[in-house]
């Protein structure tokens, strides 16, 4: 069958179909910030600057690196970031 695949909502329909994104924190105070280098050229330069700005403000920063930008992060790395950080910044482009 062509056209979009459509399912019938099994719930009481009291929430919007479009799921909401997690809201951004009002402040970074007390949060752990992950900086993810996706292995794109000079991404580390950008993230080094971000790190120095954040640490100057006394914030906790963890650094992570994907083996290659051509594929999604390995599951272990995703899980590590999700369990160690409250927010993540990643450098996408070169």
């Amino acid at each position: 069958m062509s056209g979009p695949r459509v399912l019938l909502d099994p719930t009481s329909e009291q929430r919007p179909v479009q799921r909401e994104r997690v809201s951004r924190p009002a402040s970074l105070e007390g949060l752990t910030i992950g900086l993810l280098d996706i292995s794109k050229n000079r991404g580390d330069v950008f993230l080094d600057r971000v790190e120095s700005h954040l640490t100057e403000r006394g914030l906790t920063v963890n650094r992570y690196r994907k083996p290659t930008f051509t594929r999604p992060a390995p599951v272990e790395l995703q899980q590590q970031i999700a369990t160690e950080c409250d927010v993540v910044v990643e450098g996408l482009a070169d």
């Binding site: 399912l7 019938l8 099994p10 009481s12 329909e13």
Partner: protein
């Protein structure tokens, strides 16, 4: 779609011997001075020798004209069917067409074949494609890059296991299992007290993996848990282990292939597995009962995925649970219990029924805590081999129950706080002037027979204090 022009319409398929038999008749009608349009369901080249043959392999015309069998000959007047002949019947064809001497070398009558538009699985697809949907639930589009199974997980619709994606076609097929209308109210589902209609139950039954013929059982189970005395809201919200358990009695259990025998409380039977699961999905999806939300179970139990079985009635020496509750033996029922998990009773030595009662009572006494009394009665599942012991001794279910109750009168000195150096127990002010207390409230155990032929074991399925077991007749 354009309305049909006035004139004669025939709907045929080449695969039908009666349709090929009447091919010369269609040619005969076509040659006479009247307009004839033939819709063909399988082969656009059939029938030969007729001017206007329309390809209806998509079956849209057949669906819209409500064709149930082929050949069907219709006469349209003012855009509406004014006369209809189904199969081959010379007199009827002549009446509909207004022509004489049709197919004189053919037999007088010949029944037709089923229309392709009403074949199993096809009718629902056509209803979704071309019909005015009678379903009112919100449509949720699955994204191009989304896997539809994953989409159900992502939206929080599952119990942790995969569900069957509830497409409109599947839900329409599920609704064939009941005479009730999709918008018929089933009840108000806790914890969020949301209204639930037959359609929502059908959607969740699809997701659970039910066949349409299970739907009346699921509907009865949902209605039963919503009865005030069952206390579904409390059962969901308690920190205790329990969830709803369904016991099915009566002919429906056999009709839909439920398991009352080997591994009756375990995995492997579709009806047992999916009926209990559908009930839990209704609580989750319609009611909003989510573990960690209003579901506060400290540990829960695996029966909260699904817990449903049938009583083994056909070779039982005792009246069934449903008959004990006042239903006729040929009535199908669901009985709902709060179930906290299965505890085995193992007695392979007692041959005398009285000794077996003492054995059962000793095991039952530990239910919840050996020093608790007046608690909510569990379900005692008596195995066929244990039932045999009572049958051979000529014991009725009533005698079995009364003897058990007798042995479940516990001396209060064993129950009170501090007895056995255990603080847990009955406070002294509750036992004034009493020498014994019954283990279970009002002394009423629920007794059900189930299981395979071999095994001198029975089972205790513990309850939860805030509930009363309820039963309800299953209607179609």
């Amino acid at each position: 779609m354009e309305p049909q022009p006035d004139g004669l319409i025939a709907v045929v398929k080449q695969d039908c011997p009666t349709c090929t038999l009447v091919e010369p008749v269609l040619q005969q009608i076509g040659k006479a001075e009247c307009s004839l349009t033939v819709y063909t369901q399988d082969s656009p080249a059939f029938p030969s020798g007729v001017t206007t043959v329309i390809d209806d392999t998509a079956l849209e015309h057949s669906f819209r004209m409500n064709i149930e069998a082929v050949p069907t000959l219709l006469r349209f007047e003012n855009g509406k069917p004014a006369a209809r002949a189904i199969g081959w019947h010379r007199g009827e064809w002549e009446a509909v067409s207004g022509l004489e001497n049709l197919g004189t070398d053919l037999p007088e009558t010949r029944p037709g074949c089923g229309s392709k538009s009403v074949e199993p699985g096809i009718a629902e697809r056509l209803a979704v494609q071309f019909g005015d949907s009678k379903l009112s639930s919100r449509r949720v589009e699955v994204g191009d890059l989304e896997d539809e199974m994953e989409a159900c997980f992502e939206r929080g619709w599952t119990d942790g296991l995969p569900v069957v994606p509830p497409t409109e076609e599947r839900v329409l097929r599920m609704l064939e299992g009941t005479r009730r209308k999709p918008d018929d109210l089933v009840g108000i589902v806790p914890p969020n007290n949301n209204t639930c209609n037959v359609e929502k139950v059908a959607i969740n039954a699809v997701m659970a993996g039910c066949r349409p013929e299970y739907l009346p059982v699921v509907l009865a189970a949902v209605e039963a848990v919503l009865m005030e005395e069952f206390g579904m809201h409390g059962l969901l919200a308690t920190t205790f282990f329990a969830g709803p358990m369904v016991v099915v009695n009566g002919p429906v259990a056999r009709q839909i292939g439920m398991n009352a025998r080997i591994n009756a409380l375990g995995q492997g039977n579709r009806a047992n597995a999916t009926i209990g699961r559908a009930l839990q999905l209704v609580i989750r999806n319609v009611g909003g009962g989510i573990p960690g939300g209003v579901d506060r179970a400290m540990l829960g139990n695996p029966g909260k995925y699904t817990f449903c079985f049938a009583e083994r009635e056909d070779d039982s020496p005792w009246e069934s649970l449903a008959v004990e509750r006042g239903f006729a033996s040929d009535t199908s029922t669901v009985s709902l219990f709060a179930a906290s998990g299965v505890t085995p009773i193992m007695d392979q030595a007692s041959r005398d029924p009285d000794a077996l009662c003492r054995s059962f009572a000793a095991c039952l006494r530990a239910n919840g805590h050996p020093k608790h009394a007046n608690t909510s009665p569990p379900v005692l599942v008596v195995s066929p081999e244990h039932t045999q012991r009572f049958k051979h001794a000529g014991w009725s279910k009533t005698r079995f129950r009364e003897t058990l109750n007798n042995y479940l009168e516990i001396p209060v000195e064993e129950l009170v706080t501090g007895a056995g150096d255990i603080p847990e127990g009955i406070s002294m002010d509750r036992v004034v002037d009493r020498k014994t207390m019954p283990k279970f409230r009002a002394g009423t155990l629920h007794i059900v027979r189930a299981g395979g032929d071999a095994g001198l074991f029975s089972a205790i399925i513990g309850s939860w204090g805030g509930t009363e077991s309820v039963s309800r007749e299953i209607t179609s």
